[in-house]
Symmetry: C2
Subunit: 340 residues, 2 copies
């Protein structure tokens, strides 16, 4: 967790640990790759057993497990390792709430690349990745996102769907822009039997959403619209358009233009619902939402984690009214919604 | 700081933040490279001024400063950034206690390289770097260490020197093995006017120690002994041999062999004083010392952060007696000393 230093307690350790913080990411990625958290869950948790289970050296496993214990992702007692509440629920692949697959995206080399020369990015003020960076058309990173990140953001699906559907009756047409894993649109379909979903994303990504729609048993109300959100004809008119984790990749003008295009595809009074990292106006809290700006600096030409005031201004400029903000409980996300 | 999660509070955020922890290191390295902490200290701390001072974009500086604020390395008030106690003392290059130069070593690509494929290292149980890894003869990383790390470990120099010199009178001959920046031996010379220091390290590294000895005004009592600690003739006999941050790079047998060689160069009753990361017997506390094992796993063939019991056993096997352990206040280090 991010713990700003209390004023008045200068700490060279904080500098040392920050310079070495990359080792935490590396240790967690290694443990996930070696399937260590499954082995921990299955016990008995001594070094020799774990090493055998993970096809690894005892020295390596012992040192990795000690490190993970230091950073709060394992526990150790009597020389044996076992789960913490966090690792048991969120890292053991046997847990239905496991988010370990998020490593496929968050730990992907392409996501971290710009951080190896972050000073250059700060100088230039935008990504140095080729083209549009992470949002370059058909960037394969989004297939990893779709396959890996679902469990991590899934906690927001139910509140988002409930907010988007609130008070609606009868047939509801939904466009899920940049659907990714598709879980947000799928959740709308699950909550409302008369909802039909059109999922828009690049072709390779839509295969993941399609699989998830099939698995959820709502395939008959699920249509695919392959292409770029900026280029394809949305069809419509829709009652709801979902824009989840999408606007933050773009600069304000691009967001406004997109919101206008969305509004044109909505019925009067229809809803454009974004799920976003929304920092407070101070831009330094809450920590995860505020820190997310750096990822957009590194990986996009002009994206950002926008405050509610900024998002509201975009919606207003694009012709919406009734703009609301609802933080999602137990999640770093906020649902911001405007009416066409 | 490392904050193990309290039992009973499962947190997907901890997983998310650990996967992204590498961004903290990158942000701090970028800020040091852009000389941001000097610009913050000189004020006024608004984005436009900082961007000008750092030759950077306003967008980049704003996002970087917000991020550094989130992780506790800057403060923000009324849209302006200023120092925290930690950044003021330990990161502003105008501060005599600045440790920012440690980034030269801790942030060096060569140090982090193995962490990009840490699972392989855990499988194999040792570094996959060529040769002896970080301790390969004449590895240029140690010049960066000598030039950069001094301020960070300097806090331990005075207690180490005091412990090593305790009760000694008259001429004292000191051998400083793997002297690096030389600051430990130099501090002995400063505390004891009749101490003469022989600094042993690879040639390129000794230049740094030599510069520091000159700057400290003790050059006339400072001799250079270039080469490998495992190969050169130590000369002697010495009253004190310093082995600072050295044993952890090697396996137990190598450490015992080296301690024997050191003992042969000590006067009877002479002192072999190590400065080490010494975890408790549980190997998971205190956090910095315990976490250090992972660096040795990644970068050496067989090194480790040894517990006091392990170090004591090495000393005993090498023929020492009266082995003591003294944690250094306000430092992650411990002085372990044995008598020949």
């Amino acid at each position: 967790m991010m713990h700003p230093q209390p004023a008045g307690s200068p700490s060279p350790e904080l500098v040392f640990e920050t310079l070495n913080a990359y080792q935490r990411s590396a240790a967690l990625l290694a443990a996930i790759e070696l399937d260590l958290f499954r082995a921990i869950g299955e016990g008995p948790g001594d070094v020799a057993s774990l090493a055998r289970r993970c096809g690894s050296s005892e020295r390596g496993v012992r040192i990795l497990c000690d490190y993970l214990t230091v950073i709060g992702l394992l526990a150790k007692e009597g020389g044996r390792y076992h789960h913490t509440p966090t690792s048991s629920i969120f890292l053991d692949p046997r847990s239905p709430a496991s988010v370990a697959s998020a490593a496929r995206f968050l730990g992907h080399e392409a996501n971290g690349k710009q951080f190896t020369r972050l000073a250059d990015v700060v100088r230039d003020g935008h990504t140095n990745l080729p083209g549009q960076g992470s949002v370059e058309p058909d960037n394969p990173i989004w297939v990893e996102f779709a396959k890996g990140i679902g469990p991590m953001v899934g906690v927001a699906a139910s509140p988002l769907a409930a907010t988007a559907l609130e008070g609606l009756r009868g047939p509801v047409r939904v466009l899920d822009i940049a659907a990714g894993h598709g879980l947000f649109g799928i959740e709308v379909a699950k909550q409302h039997a008369e909802a039909t979903i059109t999922a828009l994303d690049w072709t390779a990504v839509l295969e993941v959403a399609h699989d998830n729609a099939r698995a959820a048993g709502i395939e008959d109300r699920y249509q695919l619209l392959p292409g770029s959100a900026f280029e394809v004809d949305y069809g419509g008119p829709y009652d709801i358009v979902l824009l989840t984790n999408f606007l933050h990749h773009y600069d304000v003008a691009t967001c406004v233009g997109l919101l206008r295009k969305v509004r044109a595809a909505l019925k009067p009074g229809g809803r454009a619902a974004t799920l976003e990292f929304v920092p407070n106006e101070d831009r330094i809290s809450p920590p995860i939402a505020a820190a997310f700006s750096l990822v957009m600096l590194a990986n996009t030409p002009g994206g950002d984690a926008y405050t509610f005031r900024e998002l509201e201004a975009m919606y207003v400029e694009a012709g919406y009214h009734g703009i609301t903000s609802r933080p999602v409980p137990k999640s770093p996300h906020t649902v911001v919604m405007g009416l066409a």
